[in-house]
Symmetry: C2
């Protein structure tokens, strides 16, 4: 029943994923729902039978799937937006384009412990989560119909989470999401003639200028982007050019990424009293389905993580026109985050 539909004017795809048996009237109540702490958390250690069978887990060698003892665990989303049981079918409905709801929707359970949020995870623990992301993306990219894997985290009810237990999600799609496509086109256009990566140029200017920097270690830089759409928006980039989130798998590099991500989130937590937030990994599309973006994608794109705390309401101006009013200068946001000392 789920399907992907293409907007005939803008060209982007939307997932239509009707919740089974949900009547239109049910939406009237949605805005008033308050999250109730589940009495039994399906993501906690010991409750493995409450999730669909696991896809992957970091667990001791001889322990069985769907039993206790794991460190990170990946399961299918119970209400997947997309799935791979059906075939990928493309069709036309009059002037409209449709695809079957082909793809994958996975939940990465970051820790067996219910209360161990990202900011409380050790560098070693968070490294395991990041390596799991890489592993799942690489596995899914073996399917040439999956053009993109979007890894993201919703922390807090307002940010879209419906379970408290620390988890991230991965959605693999047969199309490249609109914003990623725009980044690919934008960075390709910048590269033309210049033969330089736009993100590398930004990194160089931000490091020289310094006023928007939030945190920096040997390999990664976190900063508030010049044209931030939201207060305290942060981008986290590898300082050395790299288009592909999965390509740097040395233990040191993963640890440094975990350090940068953890420190950035801790700074936000300190400055803003544990705000709800989203982060999204922007990486290059599936190497075997990069048609349309040329051979240079490895040279002109630069993977990064975008972190958006949910602090302000988004109004008609933003929705209707994709035009943002940010009430907080990124320089000031960065200064207040830079000042926070993290142990």
């Amino acid at each position: 029943m789920n399907e992907l539909r293409k907007d005939p004017i803008l060209g982007n795809w939307v997932i239509i994923s009707p919740e089974r048996g949900k009547r239109p009237q049910a939406y009237a109540q949605l805005q008033r729902v308050i999250k109730k702490k589940e009495t039994v958390c399906p993501l906690c250690s010991g409750n493995e039978s409450l999730t669909p069978p696991e896809i992957y887990a970091l667990r001791p060698k001889r322990s069985k799937p769907d039993t206790k003892g794991w460190g990170v665990r990946v399961v299918p989303n119970r209400f997947p937006a997309l799935g791979r049981k059906k075939e990928l079918v493309r069709k036309r409905l009059g002037m409209f384009d449709v695809m079957s709801g082909f793809g994958a929707h996975e939940v990465i359970i970051e820790t067996p412990e219910h209360d161990k949020n990202l900011k409380d995870q050790s560098v070693k623990e968070l490294s395991k989560v990041l390596k799991t992301f890489q592993y799942r993306i690489e596995e899914l990219y073996k399917d040439k119909h999956l053009h993109y894997c979007l890894v993201f985290k919703n922390e807090g009810w307002e940010a879209g989470a419906s379970l408290e237990h620390p988890h991230s999600q991965l959605i693999a799609t047969p199309v490249i999401p609109k914003r990623i496509k725009e980044e690919l086109v934008g960075s390709r256009n910048y590269f033309k003639g210049r033969k330089r990566c736009v993100y590398c140029d930004i990194l160089s200017q931000e490091r020289k200028n310094g006023e928007r920097i939030v945190y920096e270690n040997k390999e990664y830089l976190a900063f508030c982007p010049f044209a931030s759409r939201f207060p305290f928006e942060i981008w986290l980039l590898p300082k050395k050019h790299n288009a592909d989130f999965c390509s740097r798998t040395t233990k040191e590099s993963i640890s440094l990424l975990a350090d940068a991500l953890r420190t950035t989130i801790q700074k936000l937590a300190q400055a803003l009293d544990n705000p709800q937030y989203n982060y999204v990994i922007h990486t290059a599309p599936n190497p075997i389905s990069r048609h349309g973006y040329g051979k240079n994608i490895d040279r002109n794109f630069h993977w990064h993580i975008e972190i958006i705390p949910r602090l302000t309401r988004v109004a008609g101006f933003e929705w209707g026109a994709d035009f943002y009013i940010n009430p907080m200068a990124p320089e000031e946001a960065a200064r207040s985050l830079r000042e926070k000392e993290i142990r």
Copy 2:
């Protein structure tokens, strides 16, 4: 202090509008603020002195500005995102592009009565509001630096409103907002070779098909778009091709538009128990600054209103990738709205 900044990768502009004297820490509280009913509403009849001096008002011929007796009143926003006091200055900061915060930000007070929401306004009253929009856009478009006027309404706290009194807003900008630009490009591309407007083709298919129609009168059609991003998203279009919201000024046409808008909002109110919502008018840019979109803009673009009820939370997937999961098939949303009888 306000300025427009261009994203160096995506090319869109963001308004940086720091609220004076607001410290970074203040954002930590924002998410918990609950709207308090103002004891004195600055938009009510009799309180004209509480707003900046009026720009325009529909009032009896000999009544003085900023006094009682008006029907619709336009005032500058007390905290404008953009203003015309400063000159329009364009400059470069290293690799970044900046513009001074040049533009206009106006509040259209729809009625002197505090509790008369759009759905309770008569066709005659709403017609006056719509004519005021047209008048203000035409006035502002006399300034060739103002490339676009975005008219929108935020109804309810979650939808971004900070005052209860029925009002809409207008933001005039020296750039064309991202989503509008994409529509102009998309409809231009569709027109190429075909010599047909993409919106006219959609209208024709929707009217033939019927299942996504919400309401129709002699001149206007309201329907849930095929690739709706949100549950109960509705587009309202003139059935006869027309690129410019300001160009149909016959009394009958305005009344029919008021009827279509009012009926649509009433249907939403009935079906979803008075949901909060946004609507945004998408019209052609300033005729004297349409560079870059060719001479055919009048033939390939089609003005419309996009109505978005605020029913679901928006999560990381949507923010991070501009890729939407809609849990409600537009056909089902349209059916449930079509069924509602409006007196």
